[in-house]
C-alpha cells in the first residue's frame, strides 16, 4: 500500500473513532481550544502500528472504541504515599470524588478542577490548556495527547505561587472493569515557587492522561508517580514540561504490572542553568508491556538533564525505551545523560531500546548508554558464599539494579516506601 493510502486509511479510522466521543461542555474559549485539538487530531490521525515511535508498542487497544476490560484489584496493603501528609484529590474511574478529596485549597496554592476552570475564565489556564501539548507535536506527533486535549473530562489546574508545604496527591481509583478515564492536568509553578505532585493508582480499565507543567524561573517541580498494580489495566500518559532558568524539574515513575503502559515525556528546557531529571523503575511479569518514550530538548546554556530508566522483566514481559536528547544550537555547556537498562530474569523476556542523541552545539558533554542483561552470576555467588539464600540474593541484586533510578526521588520517606513495594512484588514471586 502506498504511503498516501495508508495515511488516508488512518484519517478515516480516526474520523470514525471520534464520531461518538462526546466533547465536554465548557466556556467558549475552552470549546475552541478543544475544537482546535480535534481538528489537529483529524489531520494527523491516531497512532498506527507503522508509525516510527509505535513499532514496538501496539496502539490498537489504546484507541479502540470499546475499552478492553480490566479486572479491578484490591491490594492487601495501604497504597503508596498513605503515610505522607498531603492534599488528597481523588478520582474514581476518572470521576472527581469530592467526598474522598480534601478541600481544594492550600497555602501558596490555587487549585481547582479542570472542568470548573474550563467553564469560567481563568486567564492563566486559558493560556496554558493544550499549549504544551500542541508545541510538542514537532518533530514527532503525539496524537493520543491531542485526543486528550479534545476530550478530557476532568483533571486539576494548579498554580503554585510560593513554597507549597504539602504535596498535592492525585489518587486514581479503579472500580469499574470497563471504565475509561481521560484526565488532563495543567500546572504552573510561578517564579521561585515550589510544589510536589504525587500520583498513584490505575485510574480505570483504560487511562489517558496528560499533564502540562510550566516551571517558571527559579521554580521547582517534583513529581513522583506510581502506576497501579491492576494487572490488566492500560494507560497512555503524556508529561509535558517547560523549564525556565535556574529551575528544577524532577519526575520519577514506578510501575509494577499493567498489561500496557505507554509513558511519554516531552521536556523543553528554555532557561539557562536549569536541571531536569526524569526517571522510571518498572517491574513486569508475563504479558506486561511497558514503554517509556522520552524527549528532552536543551534550548538554553549550562543546563543538566538526566534520563534514568530501568526495567525488570520476567516471564515474557516486554520493556521498551525510546529516548532522545536534543541539544539545540547555542545550548552550550549542556550536560546530558541518558541510561536505559533492562534486567531479564529469564530468556522469554525482552527489552528494546532506541537511544538517540542529536546535538547542534559544540561545547557540550552528553552521554547515553543502554544495556540489557541477566543477573550477574559473580555477584550472586559472592552473596551466596556469605550465606545469603539464592532468592534473597537475587532480590537484592534486582533492587540494586533499580537503585540509580530510585535515587532520583528526593524524599527519603518515599524512597523507603517505593523500595518496600518492589521488595514485596519480588517476594510474592519467589519460586
Amino acid at each position: 500500500m502506498k504511503r498516501s493510502e495508508l495515511k488516508q486509511r488512518k484519517l478515516d479510522a480516526t474520523q470514525a473513532r471520534v464520531l461518538d466521543v462526546q466533547m465536554p461542555d465548557g466556556a467558549s474559549w475552552a470549546k475552541s481550544l478543544r475544537e482546535d485539538a480535534l481538528s489537529r487530531l483529524l489531520t494527523m490521525g491516531l497512532p498506527a502500528a507503522r508509525d516510527e515511535y509505535w513499532r514496538w508498542t501496539r496502539p490498537d487497544t489504546l484507541i479502540s472504541a470499546e475499552v478492553p476490560k480490566a479486572a479491578t484489584f484490591s491490594a492487601d496493603e495501604a497504597p503508596l504515599f498513605s503515610s505522607i501528609d498531603r492534599l488528597k484529590v481523588v478520582f474514581v474511574d476518572g470521576v472527581f470524588d469530592a467526598d474522598a478529596s480534601d478541600d481544594l485549597s492550600g497555602e501558596n496554592l490555587e487549585i481547582m478542577r479542570l472542568s470548573d476552570a474550563l467553564a469560567t475564565d481563568i486567564h492563566w489556564v486559558r493560556d496554558a490548556y493544550g499549549v504544551q501539548e500542541k508545541k510538542a507535536q514537532v518533530p514527532v506527533e503525539r496524537p493520543m495527547a491531542t485526543f486528550n486535549t479534545a476530550f478530557a473530562t476532568d483533571g486539576i489546574v494548579l498554580r503554585a505561587t510560593g513554597k507549597v508545604s504539602r504535596p498535592v496527591s492525585l489518587i486514581y481509583l479503579h472500580q469499574d472493569d470497563s471504565s475509561e478515564a481521560i484526565l488532563h492536568h495543567v500546572i504552573r509553578v510561578e517564579e521561585g515557587a515550589e510544589v510536589t505532585v504525587l500520583e498513584n493508582g490505575p485510574a480505570a480499565a483504560r487511562f489517558n492522561k496528560v499533564m502540562e507543567v510550566d516551571v517558571a524561573d527559579g521554580a521547582a517541580f517534583h513529581h513522583v508517580r506510581a502506576q497501579g498494580r491492576d494487572h490488566e489495566r492500560r494507560a497512555v500518559t503524556h508529561l509535558f514540561a517547560t523549564v525556565g532558568s535556574e529551575a528544577t524539574f524532577k519526575s520519577f515513575t514506578m510501575t509494577a504490572n499493567g498489561v500496557l503502559t505507554r509513558n511519554e515525556a516531552f521536556i523543553d528546557i528554555i532557561g539557562d542553568d536549569s536541571v531536569a531529571h526524569i526517571a522510571g523503575a518498572a517491574m513486569g511479569d508475563g504479558d506486561f508491556h511497558h514503554d517509556d518514550t522520552v524527549f528532552i530538548t536543551h534550548d538554553a546554556e549550562r543546563c543538566e538533564s538526566r534520563q534514568v530508566f530501568k526495567k525488570v522483566l520476567r516471564n515474557g514481559a516486554k520493556g521498551v525505551f525510546q529516548g532522545k536528547i536534543l541539544v539545540k544550537e547555542g545550548a552550550q555547556k549542556t550536560d546530558g545523560y541518558q541510561i536505559s537498562q533492562g534486567l531479564l530474569l529469564d530468556d522469554d523476556s525482552q527489552f528494546l531500546a532506541k537511544p538517540e542523541l542529536e546535538i547542534y552545539a559544540d561545547d557540550v558533554a552528553c552521554s547515553h548508554g543502554s544495556t540489557v542483561g541477566a543477573i550477574d552470576e559473580e555477584a550472586l555467588f559472592y552473596l551466596r558464599s556469605r550465606g545469603v539464600t539464592t532468592p534473597e540474593a537475587t532480590d537484592l541484586l534486582v533492587i540494586a539494579f533499580l537503585a540509580e533510578a530510585i535515587e532520583e526521588i528526593e524524599s527519603p520517606e518515599i524512597v523507603e516506601d517505593v523500595l518496600h513495594r518492589f521488595e514485596g512484588w519480588l517476594q510474592r514471586r519467589r519460586s
Binding site: D376, E377, E378, A379, F381, Y382, L383, R384, S385, R386, G387, V388, T389, T390, E392, A393, L396, L397, I399, A400, F401, L402, A403, E404
Partner: protein
C-alpha cells in the same frame, strides 16, 4: 575440622582436569598454608570448597566437621561455618556494604535458628570491627567493593569474616596487593579471630604474610595436587629458593 579426600575436579564446560587428587586435613584451631606456583589449582580448591558453579567433582569428598559439604548449596556451606576470602572480591553496584553485611549476618543467623541482630546491635558490632581494620564510615556506606583500592577490598573481606565468625576461614591470596601497613592490619584481623578452635587455610605466595600469621603446617600445591607438606620452615625454603628445587625433588621421586 576440614578433611579433603582425594579430590578430583574438572571444568564443567571443558574437558580439563584441574585438581588431580588433593588430600588435606586441617584440625581445629590449626593454621595451614598452601603455597604453589600460579595455575596449580589453589583458587580452584577454594572455589570448589565454597560451592562455585562451573566445576565438576569427579572423585573424592570434602568433610566439614564430618559432614560432606559437596552436596550443599554455597549458602548452606556458609551457614555451616565455611568462609572464603576471595582472591578477587566482587563489586556489587547498588548494594551498600552495610546492607550486604547485615543481610549476610542475619541470613546466617536465620539458617541457624538464631534471632536476627537488631539494627542497633548490628551497627555497634560493625563499627567496632570496622574500626580495628581502619575501615571508615564511607567505606561502609559505599556499594560493595565499588571504587575500593586493592587493599581496601582485602580488608573488607576480613571485615566480613570477622562479622560472620566462621569455623573455617580460607584466605585466597589475601596478602597480594597489600602494602606493609595493610598487611599488618589484615594479619591482626585474622589473628584476633584465632581462638584455638577456628581453623584457617591461608593461600599465599609469600613468606611475608606467614611472618604475621604463623602456620602450623605448610603445603606446596602443584599441578592439581599437594606435592609436599612440612612445617613453617618449608615456607622459608620457598621464599629463599623458589619452587624449582622442591618440584625437581618431587618429580624425581
Amino acid at each position: 575440622m576440614l578433611e579433603i579426600k582425594n579430590l578430583h575436579v574438572k571444568l564443567e564446560e571443558e574437558d580439563k582436569q584441574i585438581l588431580k587428587g588433593v588430600n588435606l586435613q586441617v584440625g581445629p584451631g590449626e593454621v595451614h598454608a598452601i603455597m604453589g606456583p600460579n595455575g596449580s589449582g589453589k583458587s580452584t580448591t577454594s572455589y570448589v570448597l565454597s560451592g562455585r558453579d562451573g566445576y565438576e567433582v569427579t572423585e573424592g569428598e570434602v568433610l566439614l566437621d564430618d559432614e560432606n559439604i559437596l552436596e550443599l548449596e554455597p549458602e548452606e556451606r556458609a551457614a555451616a561455618g565455611l568462609f572464603l576470602a576471595f582472591q578477587y572480591p566482587v563489586e556489587i553496584p547498588g548494594v551498600s556494604n552495610m546492607t550486604f553485611l547485615r543481610t549476610a549476618v542475619n541470613a546466617q543467623r536465620k539458617a541457624r535458628d538464631e534471632e536476627e541482630l537488631s539494627a542497633t546491635d548490628f551497627l555497634k558490632l560493625v563499627r567496632a570491627k570496622a574500626k580495628s581494620l581502619k575501615i571508615d564510615a564511607d567505606m561502609l556506606k559505599r556499594p560493595v567493593n565499588m571504587g575500593f583500592s586493592g587493599g581496601e577490598k582485602k580488608r573488607n573481606e576480613i571485615l566480613q569474616m570477622a562479622m560472620l565468625e566462621p569455623k573455617l576461614c580460607i584466605l585466597d591470596e589475601t596478602d597480594s596487593g597489600l602494602d606493609v601497613d595493610a598487611m599488618k592490619l589484615v594479619s591482626e584481623g585474622v589473628n584476633a579471630l584465632r581462638d584455638g578452635k577456628r581453623s584457617f587455610v591461608v593461600i599465599t605466595h609469600y613468606q611475608r604474610l606467614l611472618d604475621h600469621i604463623k602456620p602450623d603446617v605448610v603445603h606446596i600445591m602443584y599441578d592439581g595436587r599437594i606435592v609436599k607438606t612440612g612445617g613453617p620452615d618449608l615456607a622459608l625454603e620457598v621464599e629463599n629458593n623458589g619452587y624449582a628445587d622442591i618440584l625437581a625433588e618431587v618429580e624425581n621421586a
